[in-house]
């Protein structure tokens, strides 16, 4: 019997086994998502939760390229817009509904993101940021001048999502179920990517690109790959937003929304699994909880961003994770105090 050609698995399986903490946290988050509508939050809060859901989906894409590969985009809303408009255009031109448009939107955003990312291979990080910023600004101009195809400044309308098994997605609680279902899929996909060898490859590029190339990583190919993935998440977010709002217009995808997405990812923490979700929740619910008008909210976002950069470089999720580790370390040290040498940290 011959050995399989690639029997090497440097430490066990292809994907890391989740730790006990990760499983507990996953169950808690899932329980929270399921329980939220059962608490009778009312239409206003449920609709904010739907907004949080599709925003978080877009952020999971941004987290892959920024948190894992280390490449920040400030044009992510533009990529979301490509998917959103792809769905709206094929709805108005060909009468295609949500389910037919879904793969089209995802593919359109993914290819757009890969295309926008190409120039970044030749230039350094800051240049890519400027390119993405210009992209979202240019997209708004193009959409505003797109005549009847894009609906110009007025934008486009879409119909309702066709019911599946008699579920009417016009009801807010069903819209919530749809968006949070996709959100859970995105979180699982992100977990798999981050904990696979591919996630490690992306982190190698983030940490030390020359060294990554010296051990055989084609960093350019993987960068385009992660832009593509990031764009796919953005496209999904775009079509969900389109069919939730039922009307889209160019300003939704301009420079300001893009900056908000970058703000949310830094606020929540790009390197932790629930960072994007936390960022989306904070920014979406902050004005509601704090009774802030839009101007005050912008000021609050600015202050929050400065505070996070200064105090929590890993975002809120990074800060919570650090706090948890510190507490565990203290709790473990207390009973083992008599031991002169602390045991090495065991795996798991």
């Amino acid at each position: 019997m011959t050995e399989p050609a690639r029997s090497r698995t440097p430490t066990g399986g292809w994907i890391e086994r989740p730790s006990r903490e990760q499983i507990v946290l996953g169950v808690l988050v899932l329980a929270g998502i399921v329980a939220f509508p059962l608490l009778n939050p009312g239409y206003r809060l449920l609709s904010l939760a739907v907004t949080t859901g599709f925003t978080a989906i877009a952020l999971y894409g941004l987290a892959l390229q920024f948190g894992q590969a280390g490449i920040l985009s400030v044009g992510h809303a533009g990529i979301v817009g490509v998917g959103a408009y792809a769905a709206a255009i094929i709805a108005t031109q060909f009468g295609a509904g949500f389910w037919l448009a879904l793969p089209v939107s995802i593919a359109a955003s993914a290819f757009a993101a890969a295309l926008v990312g190409m120039p970044s291979l030749r230039v350094g990080g800051q240049h890519y940021i400027i390119i993405t910023f210009c992209f979202s600004a240019l997209l708004v101009i193009a959409l505003t001048n797109g005549g009847t195809l894009t609906g110009s400044a007025t934008g486009l309308d879409v119909g309702l999502i066709a019911p599946v098994f008699g579920i009417n997605f016009a009801l807010i609680k069903n819209a919530y179920a749809l968006v949070s279902g996709f959100l859970v899929v995105c979180i699982v996909v992100t977990y798999v990517i981050v904990n696979s060898p591919y996630g490690r490859t992306l982190r190698a590029i983030r940490e030390n690109e020359p060294l990554a190339r010296a051990v055989g990583i084609n960093s350019n190919r993987h960068k385009i790959g992660v832009f593509f993935l990031s764009g796919a998440f953005a496209g999904l977010a775009g079509i969900l937003q389109t069919y939730y709002l039922r009307h889209i217009s160019p300003p939704l995808y301009g420079a300001f929304p893009s900056l908000y997405l970058a703000l949310m990812i830094m606020l929540g923490g790009a390197r932790y699994l629930y960072g994007p979700l936390i960022g989306a929740i904070i920014v979406t619910f902050l004005p509601e909880v704090g009774h802030l008008d839009p101007i005050d909210a912008r000021i609050a976002y600015g202050v929050a961003l400065l505070a996070v950069i200064l105090l929590l470089p890993g975002g809120v999720s990074g800060g919570v994770a650090e706090l948890y580790r510190a507490l565990v370390a203290r709790w473990q040290r207390a009973p083992a105090a008599p031991a002169s040498v602390s045991p090495p940290p065991s795996a798991g």
Partner: protein, 241 residues
């Protein structure tokens, strides 16, 4: 067997000539040293061989195949892996993950036979970092960081290792321990080429020495021959008359 042939390599940066026609043959299963004062073109030579940038003229042939101007990752996948003098690791990742990244790339996609190493931890044990797998690479001491740099490169299953000043910045005892480690590489069937300007270190580990000065080869041979060569002494110590 000649594994790597460097044939007539020229490299110019604008008007500056870094390499002016260098010919070196590196054989596997022994340690070759390239020595020369600062600015003699040692690192430029590595950069050309490992694919960081193409030469202005000349060829690099690896196992009979012309690899001149190929990308660095392509060259690594063929089994020629370099280390860096300064940035040796992925600082925010664990020591184990640093090595796993090497294991998952390098020659792995083309590797038909069983790998030399069964796990990243086995490599860490070999380089003397056993038990440090869970530590963040950025928290390692400089000496351990040098060892990690070697472990990352070993993970990529190289056939020829290019080491860029592997002992720079180490204390005498750390340097001696690392030297011992490097001396064991040929027994793994691994070709090694070291660049450094430390004559004593190079005399101790290399079986074959090449001396560069101002981008040209001025001497070549066994360490004893080279270190007694009049031209070499002149470059290193000055004429004294």
């Amino acid at each position: 067997m000649a594994a790597l042939e460097i044939i007539g390599i020229h490299k110019k940066f604008g008007g500056v000539v870094a390499l002016a026609g260098v010919d070196i043959t590196i054989e596997t299963a022994r340690i070759t040293g390239v020595i020369g004062p600062n600015g003699s073109g040692k690192t430029t030579l590595f950069n050309v061989v490992a694919g960081a940038f193409p030469p202005t003229a000349g060829r690099v042939v690896w196992q009979g195949e012309d690899i001149t101007g190929k990308r660095s990752y392509d060259i690594a996948r063929r089994g020629v892996v370099r280390t860096y003098q300064q940035s040796m690791s992925y600082p925010a990742l664990s020591v184990r993950d640093n090595v796993r990244i090497g294991c998952e790339h390098g020659r792995a996609p083309n590797l038909r036979t069983a790998a030399r190493w069964q796990s990243a931890d086995e490599i860490l044990d070999f380089v003397g970092l056993g038990g440090l797998g869970d530590v963040t690479a950025g928290a390692l001491s400089f000496g351990n960081l040098r060892r990690l740099g070697l472990a990352v490169a070993l993970g990529a299953e190289p056939l020829l290792l290019l080491l860029d000043e592997p002992a720079a910045g180490l204390s005498d005892s750390e340097g001696a321990a690392l030297t011992e480690l490097i001396l064991s590489f040929p027994q793994l069937g691994l070709g090694v080429c070291v660049i450094d300007h430390d004559m004593a270190l190079m005399g101790a580990i290399c079986e074959h020495l090449v001396v560069l000065n101002f981008g040209t080869k001025i001497a070549e041979g066994t360490p004893q021959d080279v270190l007694n060569d009049a031209t070499v002494l002149d470059v290193y110590l000055g004429t004294g008359t």
